[in-house]
């Protein structure tokens, strides 16, 4: 067996701030994960399709200019395609009220600026291995 955690890292909407996403992509690679990076300006449909074809364990959305409001739509889309077992996390500048809204919509966790990379890596590793145990 040669199992690796696969993560799709994407930015949806018009937001072009991609520095954070790149930093996170590098850190996850260092931690032994396979990261598919789409770059900015993706639509919800594009992210859904990429996640399905790449069969990822995790979708990470980076948002610094309010595009996180599109994430509930993404989760709904995944559910429609039978892929609601994918873990969705969000990082960037997210107001507190919206954090609650995202978590209610099914986002597993929201990460704010200044988050330590080790925290992100640990969260993903633990969450994915929990899901795998449940699936078996």
């Amino acid at each position: 067996m040669n199992f690796r955690i696969r993560v799709l890292l994407a930015k949806i909407g018009m937001d072009g701030h991609d520095r954070g996403a790149r930093v996170v992509a590098g850190a996850l690679r260092e931690a032994g994960m396979e990261v598919i990076y789409t770059g900015p300006w993706q639509t919800v449909d594009q992210v859904t399709k990429a996640a399905l074809q790449e069969d990822v364990d995790v979708i990470g959305i980076s948002s610094l200019s309010y595009d996180h409001v599109l994430v509930p739509g993404l989760i709904e889309n995944l559910r429609r395609h039978g892929a609601d077992d994918i873990l969705v996390i969000v990082g960037g500048i997210i107001p507190d009220d919206d954090v609650r809204m995202l978590e209610e919509a099914g986002v597993a966790r929201v990460f704010h600026p200044g988050t330590k990379m080790s925290e992100i890596v640990e969260f993903i590793s633990r969450a994915v291995s929990d899901r795998r145990k449940k699936a078996i």
């Binding site: 067996m1 690796r4 590098g26 396979e34 990076y37 770059g39 990429a50 399905l52 074809q53």
Partner: protein, 323 residues
């Protein structure tokens, strides 16, 4: 057991056209290639229809952008296209950044295109070990073309040669002088050569040098392969490449293609055999403390592998049935 049931079920759904099944099956095979033994019997009769094309060349030569444009032209003809884009795994962390997809966004919503990024994992031949299997899955899924992009290669990563029907070697004007061209193993594996980024100075020169070098090579004594100039930023010249791909596929008809595929199946067989041997060996190792002691001598460096293998298996590892 559960694994086998899952593989069988997914293979059935794959043949019915489920994209999700294709995606999940690829992961299953990538994580545990032994699963292919459950899948192959189900898909075997659906294989061999797709034209499989490899795109190889140095890092940043424009492989992904070229695949993007070739896909566009094939889609205009209504062909279904599977894309396997391989990027390197870190030899230290085992992780990978898979970025080829960025260049193929134009097709990200097209139902006739399936793009899968793969990391090389523990392989150093420019592809991942599972690539050959994934080509088969896409073939069985009904793709007319399977386009395989290797990692950016240097002079030795040549697995693509034994994995695809047609190999496109992509070079760029700043690719070095003619001595470097002559050294590179790449020069011997191409069925079609492309000088991409031909908007830059030196493209025609390199095409000329390339022609001289290829003419000197015994492999191309019968006919020199086409050398084409492209610009994969705007797609200039890519239509000629698609024509050349079609011509190569036509030339491969009957005997030549079959010989090539036989060679590939032989290699696959030997790889499978090696994998099965190693699996059995590990089982033996777990069960037999005596064997473990002998292996310890090799691990600590006091005995060489050949002597220990000869001692453990005096008659050879594979013995024919005597009856």
């Amino acid at each position: 057991m559960a694994r086998q049931a899952k593989a069988t079920e997914l293979a059935g759904k794959l043949l019915e056209g489920s994209e999700l099944a294709l995606a999940r099956l690829i992961s299953l095979i990538e994580n545990d290639s032994a699963s292919m033994s459950d899948v192959l019997p189900i898909i075997q009769h659906s294989l061999g229809r797709a034209h499989c094309i490899g795109f190889t060349g140095p890092p940043g030569a424009g492989k992904s952008s070229l695949v993007n444009h070739v896909t566009r032209l094939l889609r205009e003809k209504g062909k279904r296209v599977g894309i396997i884009a391989v990027d390197p795994s870190s030899p230290f962390s085992g992780g990978a950044l898979l970025g080829d997809r960025i260049r193929m966004q134009a097709h990200s919503l097209d139902p006739g295109v399936f793009i899968r990024s793969m990391a090389t994992r523990d392989s150093y031949g420019g592809l991942s070990r599972a690539t050959g299997h994934v080509i088969k899955l896409m073939d069985a899924f009904g793709m007319d073309y399977v386009l395989v992009e290797t990692v950016g290669v240097g002079q030795v990563e040549l697995d693509v040669m034994n994995t695809t029907d047609t190999v496109v070697v992509i070079l760029v004007p700043e690719g070095g002088d003619s001595v470097q061209l002559m050294k590179a193993g790449l020069m011997e594996i191409g069925d079609i050569f492309v000088v991409n980024k031909s908007d830059r100075p030196g493209a025609e020169e390199i095409a000329l040098q390339l022609q001289v070098i290829l003419q000197m090579n015994a492999r191309y004594a019968q006919n020199t392969p086409p050398i084409l100039l492209t610009q994969s930023i705007d797609g200039l010249g890519v239509d000629k490449l698609v024509d050349a791909l079609r011509d190569h596929r036509k030339g491969l008809n009957g005997a030549v293609l079959e010989a090539r595929r036989k060679e590939r199946r032989k290699k696959e067989f030997e790889e499978t055999l090696a994998a099965v041997l190693i699996r059995e060996w590990r089982r033996l190792l777990e069960a037999d403390p005596g064997i473990r002691e002998k292996l310890a001598l090799v691990l600590e460096g006091s005995t060489d592998p050949y002597s220990v293998i000869e001692e453990m298996f005096p008659g050879g590892i594979i013995r024919q049935n005597q009856e």
